[in-house]
Amino acid sequence: MSVNITLLVIMGALFAAGIYLLLERSLTRVLLGLILLTNGANMLLLAGGGGAGRAPLYAADIPAEEYSDPLPQALILTSIVISFAVTAFMLGIIYRSWVLGRQDEVQDDIEDRRVASQSSFDAEDDAEVPLETTEFTPVEEAEEAPGAQRTITGTKTSKPPTEDR
């Protein structure tokens, strides 16, 4: 199989630039990176199909090796259509993101940050359990305070500051 060196060099450059852009924080650059990556992958498919030959239109007197391989081209066509749709969609949500918050950057996950910053102490799980954990209060207290024992566990333990948001 003959390999076209120009194709390979261009492919390498597309992949390198694509990955570099993908690691940026600006969404537009990420999108550009994805476009370059797709084109790099398409080039790879093309290179994988072997050297160029005759158009694959069947004629009885031409041996099979002289045709170029039509399959990679069909695959590339499909992949171009798919990446076109995805690029259009990405542009749409990048625009939406800009309309909503004048943001063109990858945002942090706020809930994730919050969970990461909270202390490992959990008021419900880790608070001291009173020796007497029964839900049944003594007869004389029962009338004014049903379930009093539970309220004690809830209020008397000091809550860590991060619990309040």
């Binding site: 992958a41 290179a47 695959l75 969609f89 990048i94 909503l100 969970v115 379930g147 809550k159 309040d164």
Partner: protein, 542 residues
Amino acid sequence: MNIANLAPLAVVLPFLGAALAFLLIRHSRSQRAVSITTLSVTLLIEIFLLIDTSGKGTTAVFIGNWAAPFGITMVVDQFSALMLVVSSAVSLAVLVYATGQGMTDGDEDGPISIFHPTYLILVAGVSNAFLAGDLFNLYVGFEILLTASYVLMTLGGTTPRIRAGVTYVVVSVVSSMLFLISIGMIYAATGTINMADLALKLADIDHATQMILHLMLLVAFGIKAAIFPLSFWLPDSYPTAPAPVTAVFAGLLTKVGVYAMVRTETLLFPGDRINTLLMVVAMLTMIVGILGALAQSDIKRMLSFTLVSHIGYMVFGLAVSTVIGLGAAVYYVAHHIIVQTSLFLVTGLIERRGGTANMDRLGGLAKISPFLALLFFVPGMNLAGIPPFSGFLGKLGLLQAGVELGTPLAYVLVGAGVLTSLLTLLVIARVWNRAFWRRPEDATHPDPILMATSDDGSAVRNSRRVSKHATGKFAGRNPVDLLPRTMVGATAGLVALGISLTVLGGPLFALSDQAAQQMLERTPYIDAVLGEGATEAAGATP
């Protein structure tokens, strides 16, 4: 007539339904009728397919009658037929749930009308991926379902959804790119992309090259299946989508990745060269995922982490790669699709009834709605693997396979599996204690809707009575039914389906063992696609 020839309908019907639903975009009632009918018919056909294949074994359908390595092939074996039935049943339940939600909230216009066509396209993509007989068709199936999922993920275009959607889209596109690149390299190395043909030809090429191709495919599928070092995107993006969308994503999308991994491991690259790697990855996925779940206070995020964690069990079965192990993994995939989806649907109900899915703000739901508590309890215990539920049966099979393998690493993996199961129970118990058992007043910031009472002092059933008192979510809004019958009914149906996995445990395990047997043998698949005796012919040539 051969029933297996109906297999392409599993892809074509949802597409036709999607087209019709798109035309009916202004008529929400007929749109709902179209999509529900389409999915019901698809499910019916797939049940016939499953019955047919469980008797006859693997069959291949050649689209347009082009012979195997050249044309598009669809292959139905026990594994793919089982996946088709489970996925369609789950999508039908979620569709009914979503329809109920849409009808109750009166989202007649607006972007929600795009939900039905997109949803059907998602189902078509999932079916296509399960049926694909060549790698590129698998790629196309992935792209169909992913593109539909991008739209569903960002439905409505609110700030949190756009933020999560961007991450999700970029990660998915990168994984698809990896997949496409590996297809290109595999084609360059072997000159074919038909999976049965590849199964014969990949063995002939250089070992180092094989390993590169193998690992590239695994990374691409690993991102989609959310396996530990590649799972970071999932808990970040899933929880923000609407409840039915998260439910169907959690149930189906990661499992398509697992399905592709199983095919790669059994059909394309058999042998145990990377089983050690897979075992380590499975262990890390289980442990890291469940530890992440322990830290969460939002139920949806917590469930997303348990989703990641339990993918580890499936990789466990795949890594052991004996008939018992793989069979248990197949059963576990079916179990997990149903259970994880029902848990997300129940969380959607909790969010409606309690006003939030945050555990710090919930309480007393067991008293307010005992049936909701039951609906959460059953799949919750099922996920944790408490007997007699299907989670227990699946985990038992996996642990048995691990012990039978008997290597030190397998024992570590068995230990990790048990630990993860216990931690899952702890996580579920935490939700149960907080959202259901404690009194609403004990919550850190109880949601006003939980404290609302009707005039006679009893807890309220729907906001027709709440809206007079409430100050929070329902103030100034039209009264809505908090727990509409359709939504509760769909959830209950799915929970019942989860229980039926136990009732039908015997036949199902027999089926999944048979599927595993055939996948490990490989010849049934290859012979079905390339014709009788293709395996021996290839074995004779080199």
